[in-house]
Amino acid sequence: MINVSFHKCSCALALSLALVAPSFALAEKVLRRANDLSYGGSESLDPLSPSRFYEATDLIYNRLIRPTADGGTAPELALTWVPNETAMEWTLTLRSGVRFHDGSDFEAADVKYSLERINDPALESPVASVLGIISSVDVIDPLTVKINLSAPHAGLPLLLYDYRVRMIPNGSGDMIASSGIGTGPFMLESFDAESMTQLVANPNYWDGAPKLDRISFTAIADQEARNQAMLAGQLDLNSLSRDQEPFYKDNPAFTLQNFPVGDWFGIAFLSDEGALTDPRVRKALRIAVDRQEMMNLLAGAGNAELTCDNPVKKSDPFRADISCPQDITGAKALLAEAGYPDGIDIELYTSDLEPGMLQFSEVYQQQVAKAGIRIDLKVAPADGYWDNVWFYKNAMTSWGERPADQWLNEVYRTGADWNESHYANPAFDALLDEARSTLDQARARDLYVKAQEMLFEEGSTFIPYQENGRRVMSSKVTGIAPVGEDFIDWHLVDMAK
């Protein structure tokens, strides 16, 4: 194994080179990735766990239905899904001939177990807030299940494609966190979240054997260290922040990708406090902003999609198209109407929690000043921000993408757990209820669009744009389209020799 040549440099450098070299010299096609240890070593392979190791569970397990990059649905382990006329029951037919990594057949009983497990109180899965409406699952025959809901939901397939809803073998819940038996394109070989996790290709994958032989995850907690490892050729794929881009630009060894995702920074104003109880004040706070300028300044032109306080991403089929140019006169007029002709003082909490968050609130402060809105910026410590500041004050917030129905119900419905702006409007809730029980998709779209327009008129959350995701890859990697992680066909990813 050791082939040391001392002719050039007699020091230990040559020695270390020779010893490190074997890991690069493998004939296998290995895609090397990093695990950022965001759950501090408690990463679990249970897809429903609050500390799931998502990058790995995405490769090991399959979903019933998968999302497509244009906001639609596509079959994965379920081939068809049909609701009854009240949208209270959904019948799914399953793909036949699919096997788990341990050789057992994937059948209806596994689906029943995997779905009913979501609402197991002992698990405390965050997915329960999304799919709590599943009351039971009936096995009709080995390849057919019926999902019974506690409330009608015409958009169930959009909830089922949640990245955490994965199929595991019937009864495997106690071991799944470490056994990692699924039906996915890669199989678990070794799992140690704090050092190295190895996945090998599943040669019997139902959609064709993967082209890669192996995918490995090395634990690197520090973002700068991950960047260094990528630059030094120790990783083949990594996410990227905007300020790291120049390191890779114009370097033929790397491919950069920039793709729309529905993630955003915003400001949640408390709609039940002081002057903010007046919807006119809330609207003034939002229309006084030049979103285009804000986006160019903070995200860079072409790195984000404008949105008019609408959390739903552009590619979502249920998204409302709203236009919202800066309107200083309009904002001043609204404030005067509401009884603030001399402008208004608003307290806003921000924090150095995520890169760019502080700058975001500062740019906002500058822009709305023109409309007589005086923002008193309070910088709260990052530690404990989500526990003590956010939700209790007018505060900076940050979200990851989800489908329209999930956005509107989880974050804006009256009394919802994550309703950070305390927005309460029975008419809005009624629209959501109606949309959920409407099987006619065109009609459902109208209802969701109406709800989003309502948010723009009187909502309390300011969202100027959704920033794109970024990744950097070794230029040897092929088969990864510029789309979010969720939409990659991992069995088609390959590496040039």
Binding site: L13, V20, E124, A219, D222, Q228, L231, W386
Partner: protein, 317 residues
């Protein structure tokens, strides 16, 4: 002599008790407890109760301290990590080994180099060699490790491709593999080590060269080489030993930064992770361990000085 050693040992044990108590009380004084911190905002009452029962958090603080100390002393058991759900002894022992490898490599590289440089600059005081070496070591001393480490990676791993940049080995990797990857981080650490020790050695070398016994040796026409290596250096090294002790113990602080920069799987990186995961029992264990190493290194330096110094050796307490 024996009495003196016993006295030093006694002080070391006393220091350890104080450190343990201070760490424990510091964590106790924080708002919330290990479970509220670990489970965060969304924690249900049931989950909190289970977690508290698991960590015996309902017992009085002092009682918990004594049971913790008792487990530590009788079974060498540091308790369980909240976040990782594993025994801390198991988590910490591999990392401790890796940090010792790193600090050992840094010391082995740095100390001999520092002494040679210190002696040379001391003898050739105010020469071009002295001025340039002193200026350069001052320069190295002022560069923070996260900059020198990053620069070394850029030059040797990314630019020249001679070494691997970031450590991707498992914390359980074999001793020799760990040794090899510890080279670049050790060089980073030794920058500051070399500068400190070389400056100290230079100062005491200058002092020794001006002492009466060196003057006497010169008058007796003892060859210069012999004066330096046989008479001046051993005397100059004595004060240096305690500085080496302090600097090596001080390396521990540098280890935290260097290990994070290089992703080196040692105690320092574990400490950073434990703090950011708010894994309080683990933070407590690591703080105690750092305290123990610090005490131990200084104790050894003390004992070594006593053994080497005839004056101290002869003293009766």
């Amino acid at each position: 002599m024996l009495g003196m050693v016993a006295q030093r040992l006694g002080w070391a044990v006393f220091t350890m008790v104080i450190i343990a108590l201070a760490v424990f009380l510091g964590l106790e004084a924080m708002p919330g407890d290990a479970c509220t911190v670990h489970l965060g905002r969304g924690a249900s009452d049931a989950a909190l109760a289970t977690c508290r029962a698991r960590l015996n958090l309902s017992d009085p603080a002092l009682y918990r301290f004594f049971t913790w100390a008792q487990h530590l002393l009788t079974e060498f058991d540091l308790g369980n990590s909240v976040q990782r759900g594993k025994p801390i002894t198991e988590i910490v022992s591999w990392r401790l080994r890796n940090t010792i490898i790193l600090a050992g490599t840094a010391t082995a590289l740095g100390v001999p180099l520092a002494i040679v440089l210190g002696v040379l600059t001391g003898i050739y005081r105010d020469s071009v060699l002295d001025v340039s070496v002193s200026a350069f070591s001052m320069f190295l001393m002022t560069i923070p490790e996260f900059i020198s480490g990053t620069l070394l990676i850029f030059i040797f791993a990314i630019g020249l491709g001679w070494t691997s940049g970031i450590v991707t080995l498992s914390y359980k990797a074999p001793f020799w593999d760990m040794m090899v990857v510890s080279f670049l981080p050790a060089v980073t650490l030794s920058f500051i080590l070399v500068a400190h020790i070389a400056r100290m050695t230079r100062a005491s070398m200058i002092e020794a060269m001006q002492s009466d016994f060196v003057l006497m040796a010169r008058l007796k026409n003892v060859p210069r080489r012999q004066i330096i290596w046989r008479h001046a250096l051993p005397n100059a090294l004595l004060p240096t030993i305690s500085v080496i002790g302090l600097t090596v113990a001080w390396l521990l602080g540098g280890v935290v930064i260097v290990e994070s920069v290089f992703n080196y799987p040692g105690l320092g990186r574990l400490a950073v992770n434990a703090v950011s995961d708010q894994d309080l029992p683990l933070v407590q264990a690591i703080a105690l361990l750092f305290g123990a190493i610090y005490t131990l290194v200084n104790l050894s330096a003390d004992l070594l000085s006593i053994t080497l110094n005839p004056k101290l050796r002869g003293q009766r307490q």
